[in-house]
């Protein structure tokens, strides 16, 4: 956690947070599936002030060859932040943080994909953060799951993700940027609703076991809601596709910025 001292009152006298949310309230989440033409599958996520695009290519031939697994597909995620996605311009190209996030998202997705159906192939997942405002790894994992489904990759279930955390000694859901900068703990979590499995889990800050217990359960509840929104996006995608004669024209457009 940034842990930067701050004058911000992160929880007000009514128990509301700096952006008016209740402790267990998620930021608004919108998902659109199938927004790109070139990729085999894609999804666009707006989650609070985060804007994240995910695309999937594959299963396809795995390069370099020595990475091929003769028994399974390799799920390779590449998480990248656009240089203009943050206030202080980020140097283009991967840094250590993005390497770590790519790794844990790859692992989380691998768990749900039926990789044994596609030996020797690679399923490549690209996550591009266009605008960042805390919580991009959860937004990215959430978008990537939908993009995989949009690409027709068979999965046990969609992975849904959401973070819980602690601000002003209160366990809260889905930290925003100010809360992330000045908060006390963050717990990003990826979840498989159908099986109740946790496939991504990190934590940093300072939490008692009780607070951790509360936060994890709060994040899991949120993941169930995220999962609903994921399913809605896919339903809209498929109904749009089947409603049109020419499916190619039926791809939903990327939602426009609100006023």
């Amino acid at each position: 956690m940034g842990g930067t001292p701050t004058d911000l009152k992160l929880i007000d006298e009514r128990g509301l947070r700096i952006d008016g949310r209740r402790p267990d309230e998620m930021r608004p989440l919108r998902i659109e599936a199938g927004v790109l033409k070139r990729a085999d599958g894609s999804a666009y996520v707006e989650w609070g002030q985060n804007k994240v695009m995910a695309a999937v290519y594959g299963p396809r031939e795995c390069h370099p060859r020595h990475l091929q697994n003769p028994e399974r597909a390799l799920v390779q995620c590449n998480y990248n932040m656009a240089s203009f996605s943050v206030e202080d311009r980020k140097r283009p190209g991967p840094d250590r943080r993005s390497h770590e996030i790519s790794k844990i998202i790859s692992e989380a997705l691998t768990h749900v994909v039926f990789t044994e159906y596609f030996p020797r192939t690679s399923i490549d997942v690209y996550i591009e953060v266009l605008q960042a405002n805390a919580g991009t790894r959860c937004a990215g994992l959430t978008a990537a799951s939908v993009a995989l489904a949009d690409a027709g990759v068979p999965m046990k279930d969609l992975v849904a993700a959401c973070a819980a955390g602690k601000v002003a000694d209160t366990v809260v859901l889905d930290l925003g940027k100010e809360e992330d900068n000045s908060g006390q703990a963050d717990i990003p979590l990826g979840y498989v609703p159908r099986t109740g499995e946790i496939v991504l889990l990190q934590m940093d800050g300072d939490l008692s076991p009780e607070e951790f217990d509360k936060g994890v359960r709060m994040a899991i509840d949120a993941c169930r809601k995220v999962s609903e929104i994921q399913r809605d996006a896919l339903k809209r995608r498929y109904s749009a596709s089947s409603a049109d004669v020419d499916a190619a024209q039926a791809v939903p457009e990327m939602p426009k910025e609100g006023p």
């Binding site: 790109l36 070139r38 990729a39 002030q49 960042a132």
Partner: protein, 256 residues
């Protein structure tokens, strides 16, 4: 090898259509694809635009940070243009450091903005010779269906037009509008079977013999040009592309 067969088939298909004066998507030879421009798409950028040119989609973000001027231009801000042809956008793009293709795109976009004096760089000086605004124009390609040059050029122009200099954040007085003075609009043509086509799709680019990008100004003057691909142009073909670029560039400019 499979790819090559497909390429050959596409080539034949495109050639046959062209012989009849038609393109695969029904456009005239001198017609651009539908163009959508959405500015202010990225709030973390000082200026931004999302552009769809047919199925090609790019996001351009402009960031401004303070820094030192180049020693030989103490009274001028600094422009840096970068293009990320990320593998999300096409299976023909690879990850890793910029390759020749993305470098060429970035340099041609940069040349248009710079040589067309899109921004009054003298108004980006904080203290002459000491501190100026460094303007980063970053092109992020999300979906690639040909003609990055024009999609990115239009995105850069749109992003600059809406860009705010974040002086307050840097403790340099009040924010102000980036001093944009010109719209150098580039239009790209390719040559296939001795025919000149404007705004090529990815399929058209793959079978094209030669490519020519021409950036023009409000005055009708030329400010940047780049020929590409392994083929050649005759002189009259060059002049034809120049004229088309002036005409269509002027139509695009009217959108700003």
């Amino acid at each position: 090898m499979g790819k090559d067969v497909v390429a050959d088939l596409k080539r034949d298909y495109i050639s046959k259509l062209l012989a009849k004066g038609a393109r695969a998507d029904g456009r005239r030879f001198d017609e651009m694809r539908p163009l959508k421009i959405e500015t202010g798409f990225v709030r973390s950028a000082e200026g931004s635009a999302r552009v769809e040119l047919g199925n090609t989609q790019v996001v351009v973000g402009v960031k401004l940070v303070t820094g030192e001027p180049f020693p030989d231009t103490p009274n001028s801000g600094v422009l840096t243009t970068n293009a990320e042809l990320i593998p999300m956008a096409s299976d023909s793009f690879e990850g890793g450091p910029p390759d020749q293709e993305s470098i060429e795109v970035a340099r041609v976009i940069d040349r248009g903005i710079r040589e067309g004096h899109a921004v009054d760089m003298s108004k980006l000086v904080i203290e002459p010779g000491k501190e100026v605004w460094i303007m980063f124009v970053d092109v992020h390609v999300l979906d690639y269906d040909g003609n990055l040059f024009d999609a990115a050029n239009i995105g850069a122009n749109a992003a600059l037009k809406t860009c705010i200099v974040p002086a307050k954040r840097a403790g340099k007085g009040e924010d102000y509008q980036l001093p944009v003075q010109h719209q150098p609009i580039s239009i790209t043509a390719v040559k296939i079977d001795d025919k000149i086509l404007i705004d090529p799709t990815h399929d058209e680019e793959r079978v094209a013999e030669a490519r020519l990008t021409v950036a023009t100004l409000e005055t009708g003057n030329l400010c940047a040009m780049q020929k590409g691909l392994n083929g050649a142009f005759k002189l009259d073909e060059v002049f034809k592309v120049v004229e088309l670029s002036r005409k269509i560039g002027s139509e695009v400019r009217s959108r700003f």
